[in-house]
Amino acid sequence: MGFFRTLARRLWTRVRREQQVDSIVDEEMQLHVALLERQLREDGMSADEARLTAHRTFGNALKLREECRDAWGWTWLDDLRRDVRFGVRALTRTPGFTATAALVLSIGIGGTTAMFSIASAFLVRPFPAPDPEQLVVVAQRDEHTQTPHGLSYSEYLDYRDQNQVFEGLAAHRNGVEILAGSGADGPAVMQHVSPDFFEVLRVGAALGRTFLSGEGPRRDDAPVIVLSHRAWQNRFGADPSVVGRVVRLDTTAHTVIGVTPECLTFKNYGVTPELYVVDRSDGLTNRRQETFSLIGRLRPGVTVAAARANLSVLTTALGTEYPDSMEHSELWVEAERRARPWPGLARTVALMTTLVMTLASLVLLIACAIVATLLVARGIARQREMALRAGLGATRPRLIRQLMSETVLLAMLGGIGGALVALWATELLSTFAITDGVVRMAYDVRMDWRVFAFTAVATTLTGLVAGFAPALRTTRVDLTHAIGDGGRRASGGGTGQRLTSGLVVAQVAMSLVLVVCAGLFVRSGQNAAAIDLGFRTDELLTVWVDPLAQGYDTEQALRFFRDVRTEVVALPGVRSASWARFPSGFAGSRNVATLDGGAIPETAPVSVSWNRVDPAFFDTVDIPVLRGRGFRDEDSADGPSVAVISETAARWLWPEQDPLGKRFFDASAPERPFRVIGVVADTRLGTNIKRVPALVFLPFGRQLSRSATLQIHTDGPPMALVSAVTDAMRRRDPSVTLFSIATLDQFVYDIGSLKLVRLGITVIGAFGALGLVLAAVGLYGVVAYSVSQRRQEFAIRTALGANAGGIVRLAVGRGLRLTGFGLALGFLAAAGVTPLTTGFLVNVDSTDPVVFGVTGLLLASVALLACLVPSRQAAKADPLAALNAE
């Protein structure tokens, strides 16, 4: 602490008194010379002689004054430089040790840093706008699924006009439209916003302007568009004169009015929009079209809790005012930072981040333990050097500081390596996205200054943690002893043994935790792969199109769908083809209630998953019809609506009844009920394969919504048909835009929970493997070292008739005892950590005995191997050579 106090005093002086030091010292020195002169005169000198002698005796006042000023300077920098030079010399003397330790630390620091980059993206990095802590996300909470869903524009207006907590409240929703008239035309992710959107965010334009409060959403205004910085670069070649250009979105001409700043990385449900338009769609007045996300800016001094309370009161009031509208569910009102990527999932993300950060920290701690072990061993070899330095007057704190600066240097090497490892890892992580080809859900996992700051802190801490105990140990020297007997005896010191033993136990325990977690995720992966989704995923090609967006009317679109299907089915290698709103394994969701004695009253509708499919669908994707029938062409015609439901839906809606002929309705359109004509087998959704959803299928041609997919059951590898199918579509319409064309396999496994499980397996599996390797390295190092220390003892034993087996048993015994302790401790720790994984596991318990057992065995055998190799070498060594070596 003395160092910091001196530093503080120096800084203080530097600021306040630099001038004063000069004048004070001048006055003091003048007094001194005057007093000296007087004394000399009293001793009998002449006045002139006394003055001269006094000045000579005193010395060069100018130079002394400079020295006085230097006293307040930065001599500690010299000390530091000396320590660093000393450290560099010590490290370069043992390049093998240095490289090993730096590599181990790189892995630890790099892993932790990479995981922190995730935490930074989701939990730390503030929204790139002024006063981001005032920004609040509002969404409706779906009681059944605990997922957020949107609000209608009318509801938004009610909340905006009646709340007392927001300075501004904006609405926005995702959409995809086809952009034409740019340098790179094609489908683009849009954000339809309320006019005050940018004002609420307090984000201005980098070029041109953003929307004005009064702009839209009236139909007669000239439509305008704001480009994201990315769209401006990628689609408009960063054209500085882009403002004023007219482009087409779907079928409507829009004038570009501005470009957002590069730093605006706005996201809605993890999706970054390319283009912003003021929403002017027909649905704005429909209270049942609940598609809008809300973002508000709190008034100064208002807390999120206060906002929540205020909006909750409004929700109740609105429920009374519009009793016939949808049941008003509770609102999610969360600070923007607590709602990434969206409310409800934020908790999961925080949990996942905590989990991976914990595991990464374990890897770092193991790395520290290994380096500490190496340092203890090295320290024992250096006791003579320490004794010599102490003998020459170095104090113990000074010695500790020297050793520590060496470790911190080592850690810095590790930190540089770690930053490189992290750069590589974040590069990999940033490519992780949930995407269907157009819409890409991803978060900006990247190295920003926070991540680098984290690396720096982690590096310093690593140096201190790894170095402190060994430095204490190494500098506790008994002068005469150490110098006297050549430092040999000191090596047997009990503390060194105890310290390394403790480190080994800790390493084994931490490795066990890592490997257990990895094991749980690998088991999950196996289980997930074994889950039967209930439909065909191989030999299926899917094509997304959106003719309505290209200006087709319903009539033309239906004809397009029919003609394309006829053409595709006629292609060689195609077994069947069918249109659906979503590919199998995906679905929308809507709230339904039942008639005809069903279990779901209108006042409490349940959320079911739905899809619109054509008559060939169930056959094409191989979903068996269990009761009743599938769709026929005439079901799409006008007349009473019909539906096919899944087994689970049947059980939810009409428990223990025959669902055939029964009716249910969408809660937003009670006047148009659907009659159940068939029941199909359950299928799962790619977004959450753990749950069996209640699925409702409606006839495809009955009502067209945006975008449709053609699924093609092929005879052989599906991708072989890509060009044939594309040609068939182009024959119908040369300008058709294919949003994506991929196998269903790719869709199902690239989207949703399977991908998460896979990411978990990759990341956590990597940590597990690292843990295993590091534990083996650590154990091997310790046993090899302790064996080398006991070489003489073993030689004597051999000379006295001990056989090799006995020596091996002796050497291995200690390693295995330590491993046993470590495993026991590790099992306890693992039982504490694994509950964090529960939410991510598929059909495996977080305390799965198989995983725990196998992991224990695995670590035990790795430990045995790590002990056996150096022990056998020791036993085989020539006893004479060992004895003569010293």
Binding site: R5, T6, G391
Partner: protein, 115 residues
Amino acid sequence: MHRDQIPPGTLYLLILTTLARDHELHGFEIARSIQSISEDVLTVEEGSLYPALQRMLARGWVRATWGTTAENRRARYYRLTRAGRKQLTAEVSQFQRVFAAITRVIETDEPVETA
């Protein structure tokens, strides 16, 4: 250099010892006092006292206050702080250790003959 006739670091020890004994002194008094303790064996270029005092101020070993001398002249009076007292102990024991180590080296280099 002329000034470095006494071993570096020893000046601190001398100043600390002086202040520990006489409690509160100004620079000239410290210089006289050192001269009398060391019986003029260690000749200090007297001015080098002041950079040393400044360094000691920076490290918090001494504190300085303005006062007046018997002749009613303004002078800076120095006194030990608690850190300074600790430093004195440390310096003394280090000095003794170095001394002991040197003695030991001399002893081992030239084995003493035994009768």
